[in-house]
């Protein structure tokens, strides 16, 4: 068997292997996703019941919540991600089903304002520190200071002596 024949044979085998593996992958894609209760509860814990106050869907005992958990299961089986399910619930039942307000519209202020406040506070603090540092050298006696104070004291003494003389 010459080199060319061997290469052709390897090429053929590689193509066949490719078909076999692709077929396996396609077959695996078609296998329905097994969704466990834990997977459902994991998503449900990130959503809140729209009709009961402050109860997450994973622990809510009502019939409505049971229906919503079934809906989560259906969506997970259809291959939806947790974020897609959360978005779907928010669109269907309003933003109140989400644990945190979504970062859009007026809700953006909730996310922006604290950052602005922290930055503004840091800048203010930096400004105060700079001012305090700038003031310090004037309070520290310099070489010129004793001269001026000596001069001042001399004048005071002169004034006192004048007054004594009067």
């Amino acid at each position: 068997m010459n080199k060319h024949k061997i290469l052709r044979l390897f090429g053929l085998l590689a193509v066949l292997a490719g078909f076999v593996f692709t077929g396996t992958a396609q077959a695996q894609d078609q296998v329905p996703l097994v969704v466990t209760d834990d997977m459902v509860n994991q998503v449900a814990s990130q959503l809140y019941c729209p009709v009961c106050e402050n109860i997450s869907l994973d622990v809510c005992p009502t019939q409505a919540c049971e229906q919503w958990r079934s809906l989560i299961r259906e969506k997970l089986e259809a291959g939806w991600s947790a974020d897609q399910i959360k978005e779907y619930f928010a669109a269907q039942y309003g933003d109140r089903v989400l644990p945190q307000p979504p970062n859009r519209g007026l809700n953006r202020l909730v996310y922006i304002l604290p950052r602005v406040m922290i930055i503004a506070g840091a800048l203010l603090l930096a400004w105060i520190v700079m001012k305090l540092r700038a003031r310090k050298p004037s309070s520290v006696p310099t070489e010129a200071a004793p001269q001026s104070s000596t001069e001042y004291l001399t004048r005071v003494e002169e004034e006192l002596n004048k007054r004594k003389g009067e």
Partner: protein
């Protein structure tokens, strides 16, 4: 020279040097005003009571489960009954027969429109419920609870009847007990 006159820096000048720059004051003022405005809007919204009889009702658009779009602006001159319900709501089941019966009474006249608004529900259960109770008037989900928030409903079932001029004429909290009860409210609005 006066001995009381100790040479020092002018206090006013010193205070001026320590004062924050004017843009900082402006920025702080804007932030404070924005925060208070935001707080005021929230408080005003939370203290708004339910809609009152006589209030004009803003236009409502609802896409039904079968894809039909219902727009109240196109229904001006007709009486509109809006019924908020859900498949998980037991009292809603008890009034469904009364609503369907009243709808069958008014539908041929074409002067009254019944609209079912499915409040925080899942579509398969809602459709199963409609089928089970033989409801034929248009029904659709309240996407994002926009319509129920507009009416500031407190629960389900709740029914709002809008007169020919687009003003709220009647509010029913809880279920209707019979078709006659519904007729006794709608008939005077048609005269």
């Amino acid at each position: 020279m006066d001995i009381n006159q100790i040479p020092s820096e002018d206090p006013a000048e010193q205070a001026g040097k320590n004062r924050l720059p004017i843009p900082v004051f402006i920025l702080a003022g804007i932030l404070l005003a924005a925060f208070l405005g935001f707080l005021y809007m929230g408080l005003q919204r939370s203290q708004q009571g339910p809609v009152q009889v006589g209030d004009p009702i803003p236009p409502i658009s609802l896409t039904t489960f079968d894809g039909q779009v219902i727009d109240t602006t196109a229904q001006k001159g007709n009486v509109i009954l809006l019924n908020f319900w859900a498949s998980w709501c037991k009292p809603c089941e008890s009034e469904s027969a009364a609503l369907q019966s009243a709808w069958e009474y008014y539908q041929p006249g074409g002067q009254v429109l019944f609209v079912g608004i499915d409040y925080v529900d899942t579509a398969p259960e809602a459709l199963a419920s409609l089928k089970k109770y033989g409801i034929t008037f248009p029904n659709g989900p309240d996407l994002g609870t926009k319509i129920s928030q507009m009416f500031r409903i407190r629960g389900v079932p709740e029914t709002y009847i809008i007169d020919r001029n687009g003003n709220l004429a009647y509010i029913q909290i809880g279920p209707f007990s019979s078709s006659e009860e519904i007729q006794s409210i709608i008939d005077p609005l048609l005269q």
